[in-house]
Amino acid sequence: MFLALRDLRFARGRFALMGIVVGLIAVLAVLLTGLANGLVNDGVSALRTMPATHLAFEPGVQGNLFSRSSVDPAEARRWSQVPGVREATPYGNTLAHAKEAHTGKDVDIAVFGVEPGSFLAPEPDTGRPLEAGTDGVLVSRKLTDEGIKVGDTLVVERSEVRLPVVGTVGDASYGHVAGVYAPLKTWQRIQYGLPGEPPAAAFEVATAIALDGEPGSGAPDAQVLSVEESYGHSPGYTAEQSTMKMIQFFLYVISMFVVGAFFVVWTVQRKDEIALVRALGGSVGYLVRDAVAQVLVVLVSATVAGAALGAGLVALIMSTAPAMPIALVPGPIVTAMALLIALGVLGAVAALRKITSTDPLLALGGNR
């Protein structure tokens, strides 16, 4: 690093500019990973925390399976006989509007219908669990953040079903809407959608059968998706994720080209120095090691500084604006930093090729 360090010090203005650009890209990369994770959380945390491994939807339906699929809850018994399936239970999923009975506060909710006592029924963080024969519900964090608490009552629009809040759970959102766990029968009345006592047929409906374990042969006719595969049927999920992926992809490509272009220009600027080292008998390996060390010093320090700043920003946003879908997850941040550094080095490889192609004869100077 004899030359690399001295050049860094000598041309610190140029390198600082470059470092600031890379650092800002790292800030943006960290914000994007935070946003991507926040969006996933906000979009499908109810599916992520679901203890099932697979969902069996109605055969033949297409598009958004969660809103279009309709299965008979009684099929759960047949599913639990299928080899590979440890447990099976009906699952309902519907979006609704509701008002808090006393304050009149409007809320959008995603109602999940589960059999109380089944493996799908969540353990409440506070309050009581779901109970068959009641309309008591568990509300997720998004609603408690909005001030809904145990003892409140949510009145669902149209069906006018009254849902007393009996307990709370953590993150359980679906399609950016707050999740509410209700007993299956209650869910079926909401799904029916009209006030008064619904007909008997309304109680033969669920969205899917939730399975614990991958079904083997002999399964009933159905569209079986793993829970992860079902994320794509959550409203907006696929579009959001592909948008985020595309933005991130372009960010990495841009940073690769910025770093590559900088080091190509820089290497052209120091062509005389390279020719001199070659003429003095320095090996190509010596120059390449020196240059790579320089690239790494710039990239690592700028990326670390930028990522730290980005993480600080994410933490600040999370504490000041809890409604914003953003999450600080170390894994993706480290991945983003590694990618920025690796792609930067890859970009700089173009510059290294200029080193190997520099003719030591150039050092003989202007008279040639």
Binding site: A279, G282, G365
Partner: protein, 228 residues
């Protein structure tokens, strides 16, 4: 390695250097034979394009001749691989470049220390020798300066000190005085002669300036790639 010539300095034997081929063929050196003993200071004069730089490039192991043999300090250069040529340059050859050719980011002392660093690491011995050479060229007081803070003559003296850093068997200087006024030019040439005598390097200096030849032990003239 055949020892027909008993010198440990520099020996060129029937060296021809051609650039290009066919219609664009240029014969830069034509059957050049030249022997320089250790400690001998030879000046090469000739018009522009006569092949002086080409002569130094061949003598400095920067390029292989098309034909003929080059011996540097008893190492036969012909047939040596590029990597070994680089090692030869690192260990046996000192080159003073026309423009000084000093990396802008290196202070004067580091210009000299770059040479041992290329060979591995900078020993205490190398540091002491660098200081001794800076003393010899009168730049001790400016050891921490960067090239842009030096005059043209001072830069040439740094270039000379750097060329001596690896205790070369062969010292080559390509128009080392081109950018200087008469007085500075004389100083540099005198220094070159003194260093070559004192340190026993076979020295070749290329110049346009026929008034700088009095310190040379021998003067050869070059025309159209031939020595006269």
């Amino acid at each position: 390695m055949t020892a027909t010539v008993t010198t440990t300095g520099l020996a060129l034997d029937g060296v021809t250097l051609e650039y290009g081929s066919g219609d664009t063929l240029v014969t830069a050196l034509d059957e050049v034979t030249l022997t320089v003993e250790p400690g001998q200071f030879v000046a090469v004069v000739g018009p522009s394009g006569s092949g002086k730089s080409s002569l130094l490039a061949v003598a400095g192991a920067l390029i292989h001749p098309t034909r003929g043999r080059v011996r540097i300090a008893d190492v036969e250069v012909s047939g040596t691989k590029a990597r070994d040529l680089a090692e030869l340059r690192r260990t046996r050859i000192g080159y003073v470049f026309q423009s000084g050719n000093l990396p802008a980011s290196l202070p004067v002392r580091d210009q000299l220390l770059l040479v041992p660093h290329l060979s591995g690491r900078i020993t205490a011995d190398a540091r002491a020798y660098a200081d001794e050479l800076l003393e010899a060229v009168g730049l001790t007081a400016k050891a921490g300066r960067r090239p842009h803070e030096l005059s043209g003559g001072e830069r040439q003296r740094v270039g000379l000190a750097r060329a001596l850093m690896n205790r070369p068997a062969v010292l080559l200087a390509d128009e080392p005085t081109a950018a200087l006024d008469r007085r500075r030019a004389r100083e540099i040439v005198a220094l070159l002669a003194e260093q070559s005598h004192r340190r026993g390097a076979a020295t070749v200096m290329v110049t346009h300036d026929t008034e700088l030849l009095d310190s040379a032990d021998r003067v050869v003239h070059m025309r159209d790639g031939r020595l006269e």
